[in-house]
């Protein structure tokens, strides 16, 4: 790429953000390593876990991305009533806490679920969800929404003038416009989902049907909790980072260059829309697959909704506060990093995905413990960690938009002598508003559903909503837990919706 002409902005925020990410990913790993007594290498069972982890992550990511392409295309080129709401709603599974989503899936695909009841009714043999198929199904359920959103953003970022030009020239849109766009969007989407599935633990074990489905993250859990073997936990975490770096390098090699040329922000109009029923079939299939389990979660939660214990509401308040703080921080960090740009930022942007949540929590505990009581800083640490863990998604949403703005308007900005704050405020911020809103919503919702570090830090009065939900389940209160899960779903979704809506408030697509 030719040297970019981009107005100069301060580097300090980007460096601060990168510092926090490094501290919470590599720093926490270092803290665990520092406390570890070294004892030797990996067992054959560990190697089996590594193989299974990589295999299921590859399958899950590939299927998610392949399915997301036609769905995103259908959503991009069809206009219908409620389209925007449907797009937002399809994002919901990604925001669910694991156990909630698993129970929702089982209500559809499980032994007594809708699918098997249907099969039985028409005299067909029932199917078992448990096994590799279950792991992949659950991971696709979680990550298909993310893939659809990322790829849809790619489609919507193609300026409408190009479609108009292509239509005028009767040129092949697929080869000229869509394929190059997919080359830039698909590898990074694949990478993000691959890495999410790489660090999966509860989904893989629960849906996998047994120790065949052991992942690296479970081996880390065992090392930390049952064996208290910090050395082995750290070694496994290092391997997880290694897999992440390898996958990231491969994805970057395969990523195509973005086409240059700015549009005039018109609504996309398409002339190449043969066979609309195929598009609607895809949209209907995606909606059924993603929304029926969601509906089951709502049905399970409704009966107990109005006699939830008061402590649940306090926990919900706390979760919302943490989510808002973490969302603001995360979006600001992602914005600063995206403005800076470059390969170092890309590295910082994927590190949190490769980090083991358990190692981050344990390392943060080891760092904090000498200075403060863990429960005193529980919510602060949770906010920082959640902001960092959501950063890859926020950055993935914001960075392409900001890069495009700098590419398209950088020269104009420089020639006008714009720099620093006025460039950010007048040009970048308004134009990046849509991805910023999406990123903020994603970060807030992810933070709502997170059950990572809080389990290690929280006392009774720092309980968040997901933790309260787990504690209800642990006390046999499954119905109250289902209601807490529904509350969690509603709050996550509301936060996401509000932020996303703010981002779209001046857009007409």
């Amino acid at each position: 790429m030719a040297q970019r002409a981009v107005p100069i902005t301060s580097r300090v925020p980007a460096i601060a953000a990168a510092g926090l990410v490094l501290l919470l990913t590599l720093g926490t790993l270092g803290a665990v390593l520092w406390r570890a007594e070294w004892q030797g290498g990996l067992s054959p069972a560990d190697w089996a876990a590594i193989r299974f982890t990589v295999w299921q992550a590859l399958l899950s990511a590939a299927i998610s991305v392949v399915l997301a392409i036609p769905i995103a295309r259908a959503l991009a080129r069809r206009q219908f009533r409620g389209r925007q709401f449907l797009i937002t709603l399809l994002g919901a599974p990604f925001l669910l806490p694991v156990i909630v989503a698993v129970l929702g899936l089982l209500a559809v695909f499980g032994r007594g679920g809708i699918l098997n009841s249907g099969l039985e009714a028409i005299g067909l043999p029932t199917v078992s969800i448990f096994g590799l198929q279950g792991v992949v199904l659950a991971h696709v359920f979680f990550n298909l929404p993310l893939a659809i959103r990322f790829i849809l953003q790619g489609w919507l970022a193609i300026p409408s003038e190009r479609f108009r030009l292509a239509a005028t020239l009767n040129a092949p849109i697929g080869r000229l416009l869509e394929w190059p766009m997919l080359r830039t969007v698909v590898p990074s989407t694949f990478l993000v989902i691959f890495l999410i599935c790489l660090t999966s633990f509860a989904v893989a074990l629960t849906m996998g049907g047994g120790p065949r489905a052991t992942t690296v993250e479970l081996a880390i859990y065992q090392a930390l909790r049952f064996d208290f073997d910090l050395g082995r936990a750290a070694l496994l975490a290092v391997i997880q980072f290694g897999l992440c770096v390898g996958a990231a390098l491969l994805a970057w090699r395969l990523t195509g260059e973005n086409l240059s040329g700015a549009g005039l922000d018109r609504v996309v109009q398409r002339w190449d829309t043969p066979k609309p029923w195929i598009d609607f079939l895809w949209i209907a299939a995606a909606a059924l697959f993603l929304l029926i389990p969601l509906a089951m979660i709502i049905l399970r939660g409704l009966p107990g909704m109005f006699d939830m214990p008061e402590s649940i509401l306090a926990a919900a308040m706390r979760s919302v506060l943490v989510a808002v703080g973490s969302s603001l921080l995360c979006t600001a960090m992602a914005f600063a990093l995206a403005l800076k740009g470059g390969i170092a930022v890309s590295v910082v942007g994927v590190l949190p995905l490769a980090a083991s949540g358990l190692v981050v929590g344990t390392g943060a505990f080891l760092i904090v413990f000498p200075f403060a009581r863990p429960s005193d800083v529980a919510l602060l640490v949770t906010m920082l960690v959640n902001a960092t863990l959501a950063l890859p998604f926020a950055l993935r949403a914001i960075a392409p938009a900001i890069a495009a703005i700098q590419q398209d308007f950088g020269r104009l900005g420089t020639s006008l002598g714009m720099g620093g704050w006025s460039w950010v405020r007048l040009v970048v911020f308004p134009r990046a508003r849509r991805p910023l809103g999406f990123a903020a919503g994603l970060a807030a919702a992810l933070s709502m559903g997170d059950l990572g570090v809080i389990t290690l830090f929280a006392g009774q009065s720092e309980e968040t909503l997901p933790l309260a939900m787990y504690r209800l389940m642990g006390a046999y209160r499954m119905e109250a837990a289902a209601s807490a899960a529904l509350l969690l779903l509603v709050l996550s979704f509301a936060l996401f919706w509000l932020c996303d809506k703010w981002g779209r408030s001046d857009a007409d697509i």
Binding site: L205, R225, S375, R471, M473, A475
Partner: protein, 331 residues
């Protein structure tokens, strides 16, 4: 002898340093325990109120995941820990806990109502129960682990690498079958629908109808009977006997409140503590209160034989048993 002269002064400084006297607040006793003990529905709140009436102190429960997470938390904190008491380990964890050197003898002489003799000088039981498979009353009930393995009954169990009940089942099979344990697991493999990370996931899946039975406790039906007035859940009694879970508490050696800690351990085996246990923790109290067990507990199955490996045995067979389990279920 010379040192004794300074003792009052030293003690005075120590008290000021811990804030016990300096600002007029009641001394704080920190008890680390597992999450469900300290939740609003667990025994924690009632026990806190009862103990604070007698001790002129502030009893604080700190929840830390499950039993294994509790021990890991203590190990992470090391000798600098703020914990005075750790409550909620079981006998599968006490060998590792003792090895940390962080515990002091409990020093309590109590008349315990356990099916086995208790002689551990470091850890004192506060409740106990039997592991069992819990099912709906109308399901066909196998009479033993082997009969279960031979049937086509589906079960959901917990992973012994991440869950204390899961580890309990591992020890159950090992204690009942010794060298034949691997074969029992191989026979059970086709009954196991799935293995969950913790008790909550497994129990939730059972209630949703994903399996005929779930690994839990003989006392689980008491929850449904007493709290929900639902008599539809039963625990299966097995001929091999049932493995026990004995939940214990220990005094942390580095405590800054040794006398309060002793007072708490003594309180733990009195009625005020023990009468709270059955209908909040859904386990048997370590000492049956004067008024007896709550109505409904008499309906529970009582196993013919109680199985329990000593902490040292449990620790020494664990890794090999885990390998057997993993190999049998990975086929």
């Amino acid at each position: 002898m010379k040192n004794t002269t300074y003792l009052p002064a030293v003690a005075g400084f120590a008290l000021i340093a811990t804030g016990a006297v300096a600002d007029g607040h009641a001394p704080v006793l920190q008890v680390y325990t597992y999450d469900s003990f300290t939740s609003d529905w667990g025994p924690g709140p009632a026990i806190e109120a009862a103990f604070e009436e007698t001790c002129a102190c502030d009893l604080q429960f700190v929840g830390a995941g499950d039993g294994a997470a509790l021990l890991a938390r203590l190990q992470l904190e090391g000798p600098r820990t703020d914990a005075d008491i750790v409550l909620g380990l079981d006998t599968n964890l006490t060998a590792a806990a003792r090895e940390t050197g962080l515990f002091a003898p409990h020093g309590v002489e109590a008349d315990l109502d356990l099916p086995i003799a208790w002689t551990d000088p470091d850890f004192l039981p506060f409740d106990w129960g039997y592991f069992a498979f819990v099912a709906n009353a109308d399901a066909a009930a196998p009479a033993s682990l082997t009969e279960l393995a031979a049937s086509d009954t589906s079960i959901v169990i917990q992973d012994p690498r991440s869950s204390t009940p899961g580890l309990g089942l591992l020890m159950w099979v090992k204690a009942a079958y010794g060298d034949d344990a691997a074969q029992v697991w191989a026979d059970l493999a086709d009954n196991i629908v799935t293995v969950t990370p913790g008790w909550s996931e497994a129990y939730g899946m059972f209630l949703e109808g994903e399996a005929d039975a779930v690994l839990s406790y003989t006392t689980s039906p008491a929850y449904h009977l007493i709290a929900e007035e639902d008599a539809s859940k039963v625990a299966w009694a097995f001929d091999e006997g049932h493995y026990m879970q004995v939940e214990v508490a220990g005094k942390v050696a580095t405590t800054d409140q040794p006398e309060l800690a002793d007072q708490f351990l003594a309180f733990m085996v009195t009625d005020a503590f023990q009468s709270v246990i059955p209908t909040t923790n859904w386990m048997y109290p370590a000492v049956v209160p004067v008024e007896g067990l709550p109505a409904g507990f008499e309906t529970l199955v009582t196993p013919e034989a109680s199985l329990l490996l000593s902490p040292e045995e449990a620790a020494s067979v664990r890794d090999a048993a885990l390998d057997e389990w993993r190999n049998a279920l990975s086929q």
